[in-house]
């Protein structure tokens, strides 16, 4: 029997620690493992016994790239448990700070982590030597996202100004107006980014995914909406655990998400885009059309274009929110604890992030459940790898390994969040 192994022990340019292993026997893929070996972090356990108001600050520590997602999902869950709904300018401010996180995270991933794959560079430093202006613009774009987070959140990493019920301090209109000119530049740079990403060479690969995302009747979803899929799911977020479950496999310290009774599903920019194209502002829809991106994109490598389209959305949305902003009388709504269960699900840059908490009448957390997007996408990543290697079985091992790593980076995985890095091994016999 002829066999070979493709493996990467430590995949670079992703967050966290994991490995990839693909075994090929007689030109057939016989084993694929996306292994995560980062130790579990036990956040859910040590949230028990803490006050409900502490969840946003504690869970933000799960991730340095998307702390806002953790703060928002936990805040919404606690507010639901306590029967409070945050509306008006406070809701808009939450959406605005989340736009900052999208701009920062997507700019980083598109240019510094993913583009080197398409352009044949080992990393962004080597890319920067040949494309200094591109990288300079990327860093400027990323900084504008960070600036939004600093202005509203106090700092870009683990912001300190968000809380259950809203914010500790609301910015003035004048303060937010300082972001307008940089954001206008960022919007133009994002449109250029869509064009730039559309000129890259994409491997010919598609899969019949179940795209799972939020959907909101009035807006491109970030913080609120129903959970929907292209295969019939249309549920309240409180029904999440009725429709989705987590499975444990020996080679991963992160639990993997599946649709109950079905199989893997995809969370993230492609799902948001495919389920909500009609909710994108005209400028983002137009940019997607000009880039040749269909309304339903099934090629995961083209997620880099989708992220660029979402950059356009985030900059446009941030400008809209600032234009309409009126400083609230009070920066938060009082939230009084009561015995109950609350669910929160918001769209982190990498996909839906679900939180569920049970609290008692004094607001003490009795039980916590956190299901991050990368954990949900693990099985989809393995299925992508299986499908991609089967289709490209004749590629030389070094090229196959490169493209398998690229296939994982399509997800911008955040393994630290999921537990929870990456080793890739292709075993060819």
């Amino acid at each position: 029997m002829k066999s070979r192994t493709v493996k990467v022990d430590y995949l670079a340019r992703i967050e966290g620690e994991g490995r990839l292993y693909v075994k090929i026997e007689d030109d057939k893929v016989t084993d694929v493992k996306f292994g995560i070996f980062e130790p579990p972090r036990f956040f859910e356990a040590f949230l028990r016994g803490r006050k409900f108001t502490e969840a946003p600050d504690i869970t933000a520590r799960i991730c340095g790239i998307c702390p806002i997602a953790y703060q928002m999902s936990s805040s919404y869950a606690m507010e639901q448990a306590c029967g409070v709904k945050v509306t008006g300018p406070l809701r808009d401010l939450r959406r605005l700070i989340y736009c900052g996180e999208y701009i920062e995270s997507h700019a980083l991933h598109i240019y510094l982590l993913h583009a080197p794959d398409f352009l044949g560079y080992e990393d962004a430093i080597r890319l920067a030597a040949d494309y200094p202006d591109v990288v300079k613009e990327a860093l400027r774009l990323k900084k504008i996202g960070n600036d939004i987070m600093v202005l509203i959140g106090g700092r870009e990493i683990h912001p300190i100004n968000t809380r259950v019920g809203g914010f500790y301090k609301a910015p003035t209109k004048k303060e937010l107006n300082k972001l307008v000119e940089p954001l206008k530049w960022a919007l133009e740079a994002s449109l250029k980014t869509v064009k730039f990403t559309s000129t890259l060479n994409f491997p010919d690969f598609e899969r019949d995914y179940e795209f799972v995302s939020l959907r909101h009747p009035d807006e491109y979803p970030i913080t609120e909406g129903r959970l929907v899929s292209n295969k019939g799911i249309d549920i309240e977020i409180s029904q999440f655990l009725d429709y989705f479950e987590e499975e444990h496999v020996h080679h991963s310290t992160s639990l993997r998400g599946v649709v109950k009774g079905r199989s893997d599903y995809l969370a993230g920019p492609m799902s948001r885009y495919n389920n909500n194209f009609d909710k994108l502002p005209a400028i983002a829809q137009e940019a997607a059309k000009e880039a040749g991106l269909p309304k339903i994109c099934k090629n995961p490598f083209k997620s880099i274009i989708v992220r660029a389209v979402e950059l356009v959305f985030a900059c446009h949305e941030a400008l809209r929110l600032i234009e309409n902003y009126e400083m609230p009388d009070k920066p938060f709504i009082e939230v009084n604890p009561r015995d109950g269960v609350g669910h929160g699900c918001t769209e982190a840059p990498r996909g839906i992030l679900y939180h569920r908490y049970k609290i008692d009448k004094d607001g003490i957390i009795k039980d916590a459940r956190i299901i991050p997007p990368t954990a949900q996408n693990q099985r989809a990543m393995e299925e992508d790898l299986r499908g991609f290697v089967e289709k490209n079985i004749n590629l030389p091992t070094d090229k196959l390994t490169w493209q398998c790593e690229q296939a994982v980076r399509n997800y911008d995985p955040c393994i630290s969040c999921s537990c929870h890095f990456l080793k890739l091994q292709i075993d060819r016999k």
Partner: protein, 157 residues
């Protein structure tokens, strides 16, 4: 009046991992000296933000804890404009973000290094959870503070 280009002191580390906090400790101590036109940054989000911090600076100092196998408290000093910073020494705390050496290399490619860039590494020994810096590492921190203060005075001349 045009503001003079500042001098930036950037401490890197984690307050909750014992000796790893030494860079932050040095930055805070420099901040307390109250030099005009010198600002200290205790902690950064990721390596690319280094480029933002030294963007308009005439000089930047970076202080980080290192593990090289040397004796705890040993100090190494690099002139990053003239020397190559060993990536292994200032290794990443994240595979998603840039470490100090990578950020310096990126800035070189982009021609965005400040005119003067000094990197101090202090050998650490204890990286377990905790907020106490080992005595020998703290002693080294005092020496690094004195050296940076001396260099700032010379530059401010």
């Amino acid at each position: 009046m045009v503001e003079a280009s500042p001098i930036v002191v950037i401490g890197i580390g984690n307050d909750f991992r014992s000796d790893d906090a030494v860079g932050l400790y040095v930055a805070r101590k420099i901040d307390e000296t109250g030099f005009e036109n010198v600002y200290a940054v205790a902690g950064i989000s990721d390596g690319t933000s280094l480029l933002e911090h030294w963007h308009t600076a005439k000089a930047a100092f970076i202080v980080d804890c290192v593990i090289s196998g040397a004796k705890p408290g040993d100090i190494i000093r690099f002139d990053a404009i003239r020397e190559i910073i060993p990536t292994k020494l200032f290794s990443g705390y994240s595979t998603h973000a840039f470490n100090v050496a990578e950020a310096i290399n990126l800035a070189k490619s982009l021609e965005q290094l400040p005119p003067r860039l000094i990197v101090y590494g202090i050998e650490g020994s204890n990286f377990s959870f905790g907020s106490v810096i080992s005595a020998e590492v703290k002693e080294a921190a005092s020496k690094v503070i004195d050296s940076i203060v001396k260099e700032i005075r010379e530059m401010s001349g």
